[in-house]
Every structure is written in structure tokens, then in C-alpha cells.
Amino acid sequence: MELPNFIYHHLLSWMIFLPVIGMLVISVLPNAKKEAMKWVASGFTLLPLLLGIALFLNFDRQEAGLQFMEQYSWIPTFNIHYFVGADGLSVTMILLTALLSFLCIFASWNIKEGLKGYLCMFLLLEAGMMGVFCALDFFLFYVFWEVMLLPMYFLIGIWGGPKKEYAAIKFFLYTLFGSVLMLVAMLAFYFYSEPHTFSLVELSKPGTLVVKDLTLFGIALSAAAFKKMLFIFLFIGFAIKVPIFPFHTWLPLAHVEAPTPISVILAGVLLKMGTYGLLRISFPILPQETYWFSYALAIFGLINIVYGALCAMAQITLSEKKGGNDLKKLIAYSSISHMGYVILGMSVFTIEGINGAVFQMFNHGITTAMLFLLVGVIYDRVHHRKIDGFGGLGVQVPIYTGIVSLAFFASLGLPGLSSFISEALVFLGAFKVYPSITVLATLGIILNAAFFLWALQKIFLGPLNQKYINLKDVSARELFTLVPLGILVVFLGIYPMPVLDLMKQTLDQILILIQAA
């Protein structure tokens, strides 16, 4: 595809700022023009998606370094740059963001109240997410990170469910707490680098970051200890986003309260920012500390896998009064379990492990997006999410049943579907390094199968619940949001190379960096 130069040379910037332009366009439209607003929003999310396809087609698979870079001085006093670029690590995330944002506009079609505000917030959110994945200047990264937080807060707090205020505040404060720790690390990086820089590229070069011994609150810290502290600060900041146990409790709440498309974005894109941050910032800048922390990281991965799966299953076995019986919560906890594979995969520094981890980020983005969209479909019709409250829907809504089954089986890692490849790669890579942890982690395989099949049975199998004899199957608009994801799940399960090809060189590079340290 031939793109005009002014687009091609600023591809990422266009992808980041097109949604902002869309936001401005919508904000000047009259309130009554609801349809027009929706189409404008879909247009301004479609354009980044098309550019994403151009990015996919023009991306050099053999190049481990950064591509499509743009760098302009922003705040010269502090050596802060507007610096964006894409490499194998970020390109999959950029594509995922573009795809899910576009589809989510269609999942938002039924939003009635405050549509204009909603769409504006949504587009701002997309800009923030794109920015986070494209930014190569830590300061810029931080700004986008915060930009993203804000619309998310409003989207949950205003368009959410019954406990939306509590959920939104909790989400906001929790993430903010992480941001603060990240800020400390960022400033430390800046002041201890020679020359002072926020550039992630510069900071990743060995020798740029020179930490000296220092005294903090009267406590003498060796340089090594201080670097470990910085790693932990960053780790907590990112762990909250992933979320890693025990920083995860905002997630089920936020998911349950958020409107469907926002849950999709939250689980599909935002969670990946945690692991992306670790790989983009912590790993290359603090390779020794990463190595030092790797065993703990693997343990965290294991805990996530098993703990998330057990909590997900509790949604079936526990009554509603005791906080169970919620389909959305089940999926939220399953996300915790599935992100555990990502953590485990990146903790072992093997080529299979790290590729599996990043591929799992992508796959989880697709499958969990499907899952939340599907919950939204049924919630729109029956206005509840009680796992016990359905029964026998398989007869009534066969297409919906088929798509849910596909999504469930993809999530439980059925071979032939994409998540299997990434999970298998993680296991293959992790077993070499931590065999016992890996053996325990395989428990996740069986637990995931158990609760997904159990939920499938409770909702779709058995005799039809007579309340739902008039239930309608998925509409064309809903199919439009689900089918592309379904196709990806199947296609990448059979032939995963198109995505693995994008990332493999860059990830190899990251491994070399850490192994050198």
C-alpha cells in the first residue's frame, strides 16, 4: 500500500492524534445528532485501524530496532522529547489497540445518556493508549499514561453500573498510586543518567544510567540497593496495571461496574500496559535487577495463574450474596489467571518464553475482548449477569452459543486456537528454567477448563429456562464486533507466524540485553 509521505513519515503520530481530532469534531456537533456522532467516532477509530494495517504491511520483520520513529524537542530545558516509534514489542499492542477501539465503538451503539461526552472520552482514551505504546520518552510515556487514566475514570464513574463511583475511585487511586512510584523511578533515571535524559532508547544503552550511593531519609543506600528499589517501584506501578496478585482487587470491581466496551478496553488493552511497561522500561533499563527479580516474577506468575482460576471458579460455586454468581467477574478473574502466563513467560528469559508471553498478551486481548463483548450481548437483553439465572440457552440462541463456545474454548487454551500457542510457548520456555513452578502452573490448564466448561453448561446446556423463550440471537451489529476477533482466534491458532514474525527479532534483542547483564 502506497501512503502519501506526510502520512507515512508520521504514521504513529497520526494514529495517536486522529482520535483527538475526532474528539474535537464530535464536541462541536449538536447534541441531537446522535447518529452522526457515532459515525464520526467510528470513522476516527477506523482511520487509525487502517493506518495500523499499513503499519503491519510496512513493518520490517527482520529489524530488531525501532521503526517509524519521530523525534522532536518538546521541553528543551529538561531534554524532554516528543519521541515515538514502534518495534516488535509495541507493534502488536498498537494493532490490538486500534482494532479493539474500532470494534468497541460499535459495542457502544446503545449508549443513550451523555453520548457526546462518552464518545469524546472514548476517543481521548484511545489516544492515550496509542501514546503509551508508541512513546519512547519516559516523560511522554508518563503523560500518556495519565491521559489515559482520566477518561477511564469518567467512563467507569459515569456510564458504569450500580457501584460505579466506588469502582471508579478505586481504579483511579490505585493506578495513581502506581503512577507515583513510577514517577519516582522516572525522576531517578533522569537525574542519574549522563547526560540527563528521559529517552528510553538512551537509558537502555549500558552505561547511560550511573546510579551512585546515596542517603535517603538518613538511610544509606548502596547504588545496587537503590537500583533494586527503583525496580521494585516500577514493578509495583506496572503490577497494579497487569494486575499481579495482591494488587488485583480493583480489577473485578472495575470490570463489573464498567459498561461493556470499557470492560473490553480495560481487559483487552489496559492490562497489557503493565506487562508492556515491564518489558519496555524495567527490563532494558535495569537488566541486572530484572535478573535478580526473575524468580519472584515467576512465582507471581504462578500465583496469578492458580489464584485467578480458583477465584473465577468460585463465581460458579458461590452464591450471589457471598459475592459470586457473576459472569463478568468470572471473566475478570480469568483475566488475572491468563495474565499469569504472560508474567511466567517473561520471567524466564528464554526465546520461547518471552515470545509466548508477548503473544499471550495479544491473544488474551482478543479472547477477553470477545468474552466481555459476549457478556454485553446477553446483558443488553436480559439485564443481569447471574450465571445461575440462565439455563438451556443453547436451544434458543444457537449462534450466540456457538460464538461463546469458541471464546470459552479459546480462553481455556484449546489447541487450534490462538491462546494455546502462546500458553504452550510459555510452558516450553518456562520448563527449562523453573520446572517445578511450571509443573504447578499446569494446574491452571485444568482449572481453566473446569470453570469455563462449568459456566458453559450452566448457561447454555440443560433444559431451556422458560423466561427466555423470546430471547433474540445476536444481531448483525454484534456479529460485526465479534466475527473479526473470532477469525483472528482461529487463524492465529492454526498459523501464528504473522504475529510472531513481528515480534521475534525485538524480543531476541531484549533477551540478549538481559543475558549480557
Partner: protein
């Protein structure tokens, strides 16, 4: 070769896709699509098979492979391996599948999900063919799971019945437990060989003595072998993971014939056959013990059941145990031959039972009786298959079972400390004859127990009886003994040096062919045992000289144990399922009350107090207080805005932009 293989393999997949998306709208709801696909697959399988047979070359081999996943320093290939075992399996799979397809046209006529049923059958055929075609452990694991999926879908086909959906779930989860073992075995192999998963290369690697390492005093090779075998335990319903197969009878009967008798459950046997040279003597001994114990264990459970399909299900478990036992004692050809003969006569038995159920509308043998006159074709087919499974001379079961028992006997004579394996196997032979004739007598002979059932009964249509006739012919012994063609193409692979008994000095005869003497003894013994079984069955269920009721009464505790299937299901319920549910609930409680309420929300008062009451905007505190405080006031502000101005969206936008500016400003300080 490749084109034919791809046709055999992918036509059923194409049929599946067509059926899923267009099935309902097609003429006859598309049954001809699936049938046509599997028929073509069968024809091409036969072409390949007979070509190979004509060459008389037991070492026939054809391979090809493609790059699949390749990363720096890592690659997984996708390859196909075709040898005599593969081709035999292809014929078995496509033939039984074809017959089941045809049979299903009659059996499933009028079902509201008719086209979906055929879609699933096609999907199964595709997966099963894939399973036997691939050349490496990673790929076989993929198809291993896919046949499991097909099984799940077909067991739960009548999903409106809670028992069917329960059975489907149970089957998938139970087999998946075994699959985890298999997966761990693959991980160990992958790690130890640095990425070699292709069968042939792996065997070479092991033969070169490069596969080293120990775990808990066992060689890692043994551990890997036993773990791989766990997959087979699950899939082939061996003890202790046998519990899913009887429940799987909830599926439509033709499905039971195809998946749960002839092909998928034999995948475990296929795996052991395929990986035979990989197993150490210790691992093979483990397999032999599991196999022979399962054979006996399941045979005893078949004695007391009255559900015609469940009796056959236990019988299948038992026969699969036989095959495992055979492979375990080194009777490789016998184990594989029994897979093939069993596929024919057991498929026949299931299809016969389907025919009976179709006619009688019940599965309870106590309500049947006297159906011989009403359903002559079904009766004769059942009788032939029963004679075959009971090991009566001139029938196929006799041929393979005799070889198995001879293998077991010669193993026992050389390793008297493991005589139990052979003893179990011989007892099983007698029990098999007994319970199978019990089934025939109760169903077809005697006076009709239930006049209503009897009067409704009728012979099934030709689409259903034709497959029975074909399978009956295949249950005769000469099919497999003619010109010794089977032994000519299937030969025990040359044992690797570590397998000839070096690592465990006590184990002998793995590599030996059974002695002639043990053959003779076996023939005499097995005929005698089968005869006794049949005779006792005759006395109990035909003549009524002996009363089953009285015997059940006399051996009450034993009878109860059998009726309750040794309480294995209950045991799992109490030791696995319930504790797991309790653990879930505890975790959820812990998550809500401890982590969330205490650890997380416990901080809120402290943080917010700091944020609100600290007026200290000093530089030292810039990080913690300022940013956190700002966040909170924005949060607070957002709430206020929401309360006062709900609906006035312009305000949100302005607020958002303002907040953005504030954050940027703060950061630029």
C-alpha cells in the same frame, strides 16, 4: 501421496465447515456432504493401504514436513509421517466412520440438530485422521485435544438432558487430567532433547544414549514415558481415569460406536504403539500392570449392569486394557491387531445395541428379551460380534486375543514375579465371554419381559443394518489371518538397546516372540475359559438353572460393590470435587475480605487524610502528596460534577481538558 493424504484428511474438515455454515439449508440437511467426504476419504485410504500391502514392505515410510513456528533458536515443524501403522489406522478410522455416518442417516433421522450432528462427526473424523498422520508429539497433542473436543460435543449432543451435559463435561475434564501428564511428558522430552519432538528423531536421540537424567531415583526416560502414558490413561479410559467412559454413553449410540469404542479411545493405544520404542522396560511394565488391572476391573463391573450400552462401555474399557497390557508385555503386533479387530466387532456391538434401542426405546436389558425373531439381522450381527469378543475360534477376536494372551503368558513364565499380569488377563477372558453372552441372552432370547417394548420392536432400516452386515463380515478370523498379511506389514520395531532388559535386569523376554508352547497352552486355556464363561452364562440367563438373584443375595457385599462400581466416582467426589469447591470459596472469601477490604481499602482513610489535610506543598514531598492529592481532588471533583450536572456533556469535556492541562502543568513544574 501428499495430495491423497490431504484429501483424506481435509475433506471431512471441508464437510464440517459446509455443514456448520450452510447445513440447515442444504438438501437433506447436508448429510450427503459429510457422508460423501468420509466416503472419499475411505476410498483414498484404501488405495494407499492396498498399494502399501502390495509392496509387502513392513518398513514402508513416507514423511514430509513444513516450517510452522520458527523463532530465533527455536522451531516447531508440522510434519506428516505415514507408515504401515498409520495406513492401517487410516483404513480403520475412515471405514468405521463411514459406516457410522451411513448408520446415522437412519438412527438420527428427524433429529432437530441433524445437520449439526453430521458436522460434528466430520470434525471428529478430521481430528482423528490428523492424530494418526502427524509426525511429532506437539502436533499429536493438538489433535489429541481436538478429538477430545469432538467427543465433548457429541457426548453432550442432546444437551437439553442434564445428564448428557454432565457427562460431556466430565469426559473433557477427566481426559484433560491425563493430558496434563502427557503435556508434562512432552515438556520433559522437549527440555531434555533440546527441542526434538519428531518421533523418528527422538528415537534416534534416545538410541544414541543422549537422553539422560534422573528423577526420584527413576531414569528421566521412564518418567517421561509414564507421563506420556497418562495421556493414554485418560483417553483410553484406563484405571484410574476410566470414570468418564460409561457416562459418555449419554451420547447418541452411533457416536459411542465411532468415538467411544472403535477410534478415539483407541488413540491411547495408538500412542503407545507409536512411541513403543521410547518406553523403558520399567515404563512398559507400568503400562502392562495398568492395562491388565483395568481389563479385569472393568470386566467385573460389566457383570452386573443392566443398561445395554453401559455393559458395552465397561467391555470397551476392559478390551482397551487388554491392548495396553499386550503392548506392555511386548506383544506389539498383538496389541495393535486387537485394536483393529476390536474396532470392527465393538463398533458392530454398539451399532447393534443402537438398533435395539432404536426399536425398543429402552436401554434396560431387563425390559427386553425375545427380540431374536423381531430383529434377525441385528441378532445375528450381535451374535457374531459376541462370539468374536469372547474369543471363540474362527472369529477375529480369537486371533488377536490369543496372541495377546500368549504374549502375557510367555512374559509371565519368564518373569514369574509379574505373573499377576497374565492371571488377570486370563480371568478377564472368562468374564468377557460370560457378560457378553449374558447380554445376548437377556436381549434376544427368552420370553419378552415387556409386551409393550416387544410389540413396538421391529428390524431397523437398511441404512442401519447394512453397516452391521459389513462389520459382521469383518469379525471373522480369516479376514485377518489370510496369507498372514497383518504380520507381514505390522512388525515389532527393533528394540533399542536400553529396552532389551538391560536397565532392569529382572525383566526378561520383552524382545522375544512368544514360545510355541505358550501359544498352545494359551489356545487351550482361552478356549476353555471362554467355554466356561459361555456355559455359565447359559445356565444363568438362558436355562435359568442358576439364579442371578440368589447369587447376588448370597454375595451381597460383593454385588453391591460391583453395582456401585467400586465407589470410585464417590471417592473422587469426596476427595477432589468437594475440596476443590471449598478451596474456591475460601479463596473468594480471602480475596474479598482479606486482600480487598483489609489490605487495600484499609489504606484509604490514611491516604485521603494525607492528601486533604497536608498543606505542605514542599519540594521534598512533591512525589507522594502532590500527585496523589491532585488525583483525589480530581476524583472528588468528578463526583461533584456528575451529581450537579448529569447530562450536560459539554461540561465533562471541559473538565477533562482542564484536568489534562492541570496534570501537564504539574508535570512541567
Amino acid at each position: 501421496m501428499l495430495e491423497k493424504l490431504l484429501l483424506i484428511w481435509l475433506l471431512p474438515l471441508a464437510a464440517f465447515l459446509i455443514q456448520v455454515f450452510l447445513g440447515k439449508r442444504l438438501y437433506r440437511r447436508g448429510d450427503w456432504v459429510s457422508c460423501g467426504a468420509v466416503f472419499t476419504s475411505f476410498i483414498f485410504s484404501c488405495v494407499l493401504f492396498f498399494n502399501m500391502l502390495g509392496e509387502h514392505n513392513p518398513h514402508f515410510k513416507w514423511t514430509t514436513s513444513w516450517d510452522w513456528i520458527f523463532l530465533p533458536d527455536f522451531q516447531l515443524k508440522f510434519g506428516l509421517l505415514v507408515d504401515t501403522v498409520t495406513l492401517s489406522m487410516l483404513v480403520v478410522i475412515t471405514l468405521v466412520s463411514l459406516l457410522v455416518h451411513v448408520y446415522s442417516i437412519g438412527y438420527m433421522a428427524g433429529d432437530k440438530l441433524y445437520s449439526r450432528y453430521f458436522a460434528y462427526l466430520s470434525f471428529f473424523t478430521f481430528s482423528m485422521v490428523g492424530l494418526v498422520l502427524v509426525d511429532n508429539l506437539f502436533s499429536i497433542y493438538i489433535f489429541w485435544e481436538l478429538v477430545g473436543l469432538a467427543s465433548y460435543l457429541l457426548i453432550g449432543f442432546w444437551f437439553e438432558k442434564p445428564s448428557a451435559s454432565n457427562a460431556a463435561k466430565k469426559a473433557f475434564l477427566t481426559t484433560r487430567i491425563g493430558d496434563i501428564g502427557m503435556f508434562l511428558g512432552i515438556l520433559i522430552i522437549f527440555f531434555n532433547t533440546n527441542g526434538i519432538l519428531e518421533y523418528e528423531k527422538l528415537f534416534q536421540y534416545v538410541a544414541d544414549g543422549k537422553f539422560t537424567g534422573e528423577f526420584l531415583g527413576m531414569s528421566l526416560l521412564t518418567v517421561a514415558g509414564i507421563l506420556l502414558f497418562f495421556g493414554a490413561i485418560g483417553k483410553s479410559a484406563q484405571f484410574p481415569l476410566h470414570i468418564w467412559l460409561p457416562d459418555a454413553m449419554e451420547g447418541p449410540t452411533p457416536v459411542s460406536a465411532l468415538i467411544h469404542a472403535a477410534t478415539m479411545v483407541a488413540a491411547g493405544v495408538y500412542l503407545v504403539t507409536r512411541m513403543f520404542v521410547f518406553f523403558t522396560p520399567d515404563a512398559l511394565l507400568f503400562i502392562a500392570y495398568i492395562g491388565s488391572f483395568t481389563a479385569l476391573f472393568a470386566a467385573t463391573m460389566a457383570l452386573t449392569h443392566n443398561d445395554i450400552k453401559k455393559v458395552l462401555a465397561y467391555s470397551t474399557i476392559s478390551q482397551l486394557g487388554y491392548m495396553m497390557m499386550g503392548l506392555g508385555v511386548g506383544a506389539y503386533v498383538a496389541g495393535f491387531l486387537h485394536l483393529v479387530t476390536h474396532a470392527a466387532f465393538k463398533a458392530s456391538l454398539f451399532l447393534c445395541s443402537g438398533s435395539v434401542i432404536h426399536a425398543a426405546h429402552t436401554q434396560d436389558m431387563r425390559q427386553m428379551g425375545g427380540l431374536k425373531q423381531k430383529m434377525p439381522i441385528t441378532f445375528w450381527a450381535t451374535l457374531i460380534a459376541t462370539l468374536s469378543i469372547s474369543g471363540v475360534p474362527f472369529f477375529s477376536g480369537f486371533v488377536s486375543k490369543d496372541m495377546l494372551l500368549a504374549g502375557a503368558l510367555s512374559f509371565a513364565t519368564e518373569n514369574p514375579q509379574h505373573a499377576l499380569i497374565a492371571i488377570f488377563a486370563f480371568i478377564t477372558a472368562g468374564l468377557t465371554a460370560f457378560y457378553m453372552f449374558r447380554l445376548v441372552f437377556m436381549t434376544f432370547f427368552g420370553a419378552p419381559k415387556d409386551p409393550k417394548v416387544f410389540s413396538h420392536a421391529h428390524e431397523s432400516p437398511l441404512t442401519m443394518t447394512l453397516p452391521l452386515m459389513i462389520l459382521s463380515v469383518l469379525s471373522f478370523g480369516f479376514i485377518f489371518t489370510y496369507n498372514h498379511w497383518f504380520e507381514a506389514i505390522i512388525q515389532k520395531p527393533a528394540l533399542l538397546n536400553y529396552q532389551s532388559g538391560l536397565s532392569v535386569g529382572s525383566l526378561k523376554a520383552l524382545g522375544h516372540a512368544p514360545h510355541d508352547a505358550s501359544h498352545l497352552i494359551t489356545v487351550i486355556l482361552s478356549i476353555a475359559l471362554a467355554g466356561t464363561g459361555i456355559f455359565l452364562s447359559y445356565l444363568f440367563y438362558f436355562k435359568g438353572v442358576l439364579s442371578a438373584k440368589n447369587w447376588a443375595h448370597r454375595f451381597q457385599s460383593m454385588y453391591q460393590t460391583l453395582v456401585h462400581l467400586y465407589w470410585v466416582d464417590e471417592l473422587y467426589e469426596w476427595t477432589v470435587v468437594r475440596p476443590l469447591i471449598r478451596l474456591n470459596n475460601f479463596m473468594a472469601h480471602f480475596d474479598n475480605r482479606v486482600i480487598d477490604d483489609r489490605l487495600v481499602d484499609g489504606w484509604v482513610p490514611l491516604t485521603s487524610n494525607t492528601a486533604f489535610y497536608s498543606g505542605d506543598f514542599d519540594n521534598v514531598a512533591i512525589d507522594q502528596t502532590l500527585v496523589d492529592g491532585t488525583g483525589l481532588s480530581i476524583a472528588k471533583g468528578g463526583m461533584e460534577v456528575r451529581k450537579i450536572q448529569t447530562g450536560r456533556i459539554q461540561q465533562y469535556l471541559i473538565l477533562a481538558l482542564a484536568a489534562l492541562c492541570i496534570i501537564l502543568l504539574i508535570l512541567m513544574l
